[in-house]
């Protein structure tokens, strides 16, 4: 962090202003999807990664590209296919000839070396390739041939999933799903939105996105804002609330967890969930809630913040059983029930 950046410690108002600015720039291109964009930015400033789910043509790739443009950060896109190998995304060692004619192995960075990475249709790659992303996402580093190469912060991975065309796909393992802070759904646009999409994309000019930050300061500014998010205070009752909510996603009969005598028992969870959210779910709740609090001009987290981020933070962490699939119950429904069950009484 240079001197100029250090002198500019962002305030709560700065954060909200910057957030809204980026949001507005994105919406110059993206029609609708207000909640999805907000959740995407929440995850970015919370320091997490996002799984984007939507049917084809809903703007998943466009959204990510627009975000990269608005933030003025380096951006790479990987189209995951079944024959994609891990080295294709992490980079590999190649033989290069030096000026003196000597040949030596040199590391050629893969597309993961950027600030914003779009993994398009990640479920089309093999688990081996999918897991190559794990180290990047969790530890911001890549190890190739025993040499660890750090990634530059901010590092933000957005992976898209196509919920249809499941043939020939490899569903993401739970461990990898858990590493995504939020799962954002891009809903199918309604008629008015469709008209706006057609109008804005078939005209002679594309909507121009103005970068919010300059290239030089973008990374530092974003890191400073991410640091501010971590300064937001959380009262103990609210931490307990988040923990209670996450524990409530576990079925009471689960053999993987201890007795939940003091926990909240949710009938729908017992019936339809095979395994609930991990402690990463609680972290996601708190971090997302902190961003929400800053957006609301507060330096503290409220119960409402937790409830607002709960669907995005928990639904991809809840593993449903066959009964849920046969009854047409989805994870969003389960999370909604959990939130209702653990909601503190208003008195």
């Amino acid at each position: 962090m240079n001197a100029a950046a250090r002198s500019e410690v962002p305030t709560v108002a700065d954060f909200a202003r910057t957030f809204r600015h980026v949001q507005a720039e994105i919406h110059k291109v993206i029609v609708g999807h207000q909640q999805a964009v907000e959740e995407l930015l929440c995850a970015l400033f919370a320091g997490g990664h996002v799984l984007i789910e939507g049917v084809p043509g809903t703007g998943k790739t466009t959204l990510v590209k627009t975000l990269g443009l608005a933030l003025n950060l380096s951006f790479n896109r990987i189209q995951f296919t079944v024959d994609l190998m891990p080295a294709d995304i992490t980079g590999t060692r190649v033989i290069l000839s030096g000026e003196d004619g000597r040949r030596e192995f040199s590391f050629q960075p893969g597309p993961v070396f950027c600030h914003i990475l779009l993994g398009d249709e990640i479920n089309r790659a093999t688990p081996k390739t999918q897991s190559a992303l794990l180290e990047c996402m969790a530890e911001l580093q890549v190890t190739v041939s025993g040499i660890t190469h750090p990634l530059k912060p901010p590092y933000f991975v957005m992976a898209t999933l196509n919920p249809i065309e499941m043939e020939g796909t490899y569903p993401l393992p739970e461990a990898q799903l858990d590493r995504f802070l939020f799962k954002v759904r891009l809903e199918y646009p309604d008629e008015a939105q469709m008209v706006r999409i057609v109008t804005s994309t078939t005209g002679p000019e594309d909507a121009g996105v103005e970068p919010v930050f300059s290239v030089a300061e973008a990374a530092e500014r974003i890191e400073a804002l991410k640091h501010l998010v971590r300064e937001v205070m959380v009262a103990q009752p609210i931490e307990h609330y988040a923990a209670r909510m996450v524990r409530a996603t576990q079925p009471s009969t689960s053999r993987y967890i201890g007795p939940q005598s003091s926990g909240t028992r949710v009938e729908a969870v017992d019936r339809y969930v095979s395994f609930g959210a991990s402690p990463r779910g609680a972290q996601a709740l708190i971090m997302g809630a902190k961003v929400r609090a800053l957006l609301d001009g507060r330096a503290n987290v409220a119960y409402e913040d937790i409830e607002q981020v709960a669907p995005a933070a928990l639904q991809h962490r809840v593993m449903l059983n066959y009964a849920a699939h046969s009854d047409g119950i989805d994870a969003a429904h389960i999370v909604e029930r959990v939130v209702q069950a653990v909601r503190p009484s208003r008195g």
């Binding site: 305030t11 709560v12 501010l228 300064e231 937001v232 205070m233 959380v234 009262a235 103990q236 009752p237 609210i238 609301d296 001009g297 507060r298 330096a299 503290n300 987290v301 409220a302 119960y303 409402e304 208003r346 008195g347």
Partner: protein, 456 residues
């Protein structure tokens, strides 16, 4: 220096906020305390009122059941109210939480209290203090908890009022009972009791011992059989019935204590047993010589009746003026009723015809009745129930405790119908007053039975 001053100002502002949270906590705790006190008082007073009222209104077993239910419910209620009050009592954290919710502060106070307790100061602490202080008017104690007095006060007052009414009623009823204690024996009513329908059970300890019963042999025979049966049951042991009897006794004793000895509904009355056979009409008593002879012989065996001397003195206590009542042989059935109906003195005093000489005493004010009307159950209301200075023909007066309330474990459904309403009409010229007749002597075989009855 400037930084330290700013920090001190920030701490002062935080202190202001925390003091306000303290005020909220105090108010919430005061309300919780009131809730516990008034809630408990409400339940206890309500229970007392209910128990006292039920002591007057219900039979022993119903009273016992209701009392148990009320006591248990009250205990549970008091525990619940106290626990509720305890649960609503607030620490600083809880007060902050409540204030956050009620003033829609979105966790600002909770966070401040939590951070102040932990001693951690985030980079955003000063922002939080300023932000919360700007909303200070929203969380003054009076806004968070507008009440100074718990709503339970009103329920407690209502409960007090109800309890006062019930206790006043109880006090009046007890006073009336004490004032009219002597007149219970002289209470109007038909002194006809079918002993066959009486239920024999262990004596109530609060009852006076040594009650005497005079009745015709058939009735006494029935009594003896019942007594034997009761003793058999007592020995062979129908434990549930014994338990019921014990429970009933306990309930009665408790009820008596609450209602001042004997409740109005269950007053022990001194009654005279009359022969059911005589219901056919006293005028025709002479048509039943056998019965009359039996009565005479019973009356003649005064020496055989135990405690006769005690009972002779008993009626005097119930006569305020101490007026001696002419001793008369027992009348039965309609004869007695006819005797009740004739207040006017009859021309011929037939006392001397059937009464022993030592029993023929005329009160100073003249004879109270003639013939049948001067009998123990004769025309004088003071002596309707056989109060006489000298029991006629020995011990033919008696007293028996009778529960006047409907019994919930009665054994008979064929209780005698209530006697017809009395109409006082003067005798016409062709009518003659009832002639008393002597009682028959008690058969030797019945004497043991009578003695055992007396002993109970």
């Amino acid at each position: 220096m400037e930084h330290e001053a700013a920090q001190a100002r920030g701490e002062d502002k935080a202190r202001l906020i925390l003091d306000q949270v303290d005020a909220i906590r105090s108010r919430l705790n005061a309300i919780a305390l009131q809730q516990g006190l008034f809630g408990g008082l409400t339940l206890i007073l309500g229970a007392v009122a209910l128990v006292v009222a039920s002591a007057f209104l219900l039979g022993p077993l119903a009273f016992l059941m209701l009392g148990l239910v009320v006591v248990l419910a009250t205990l549970a209620g008091v525990v619940r109210v106290v626990r509720g009050a305890w649960a609503t009592s607030a620490s600083n954290e809880r007060a902050a939480l409540i204030a956050d919710r009620r003033a829609a502060l979105k966790g600002r106070l909770s966070t401040m209290v939590d951070a102040a307790r932990a001693g951690e100061r985030s980079a955003l602490w000063s922002y939080l203090v300023e932000d919360t202080l700007a909303l200070r008017d929203e969380f003054v104690a009076a806004k968070i908890e507008p009440r100074r007095i718990s709503r339970w006060l009103w329920t407690a007052l209502a409960s007090c009022a109800i309890a006062a009414l019930v206790l006043r009623f109880a006090y009046r009823a007890r006073s009336a009972q004490h004032a009219g204690g002597g007149s219970v024996a002289a209470a109007p009513g038909e002194p006809s009791v079918d002993l066959g329908d009486l239920d024999i059970r262990p004596a109530d300890p609060s009852n006076e011992p040594g009650a005497q019963i005079d009745a015709d042999p058939a009735t006494l025979q029935k009594l003896a059989e019942k007594l034997r049966e009761a003793q058999r049951n007592g020995k062979t042991g129908n434990s549930s019935s014994r338990l019921m009897a014990d429970a009933r006794d306990i309930a009665s004793a408790l009820q008596n204590r609450l209602t001042g000895g004997r409740s109005a509904a269950q007053a022990w009355q001194r009654l005279k047993i009359t022969d059911r056979k005589g219901v056919s009409g006293g005028k025709h008593a002479a048509d039943e010589p056998k019965s009359a002879a039996n009565d005479r012989s019973a009356g003649g065996s005064q020496a055989d009746a135990p405690n006769a001397a005690d009972d002779q003195s008993e009626p005097n206590r119930s006569q305020p003026n101490g007026a001696a009542t002419p001793a008369m042989p027992d009348m039965s059935g309609q004869a007695a009723l006819n005797g009740l109906n004739s207040d006017a003195p009859a021309p011929g005093n037939s006392l001397g015809q059937n009464t022993p000489l030592d029993a023929r005493r005329v009160p100073p004010g003249g004879p109270l009745g003639t013939g049948g009307s001067a009998h123990g159950s004769g025309s004088d209301p003071q002596h309707l129930y056989g109060d006489s200075e000298t029991p006629p023909l020995g011990s033919d007066t008696f007293k028996i405790p009778v529960e006047a309330a409907p019994s919930d474990d009665g054994t008979s459904n064929n209780a005698p119908a209530p006697p017809p309403t009395r109409a006082r009409t003067a005798l016409n010229a062709e009518q003659a007053p009832d002639e008393p007749f002597e009682r028959a002597s008690i058969p030797a075989s019945d004497r043991v039975t009578i003695q055992r009855v007396f002993e109970r």
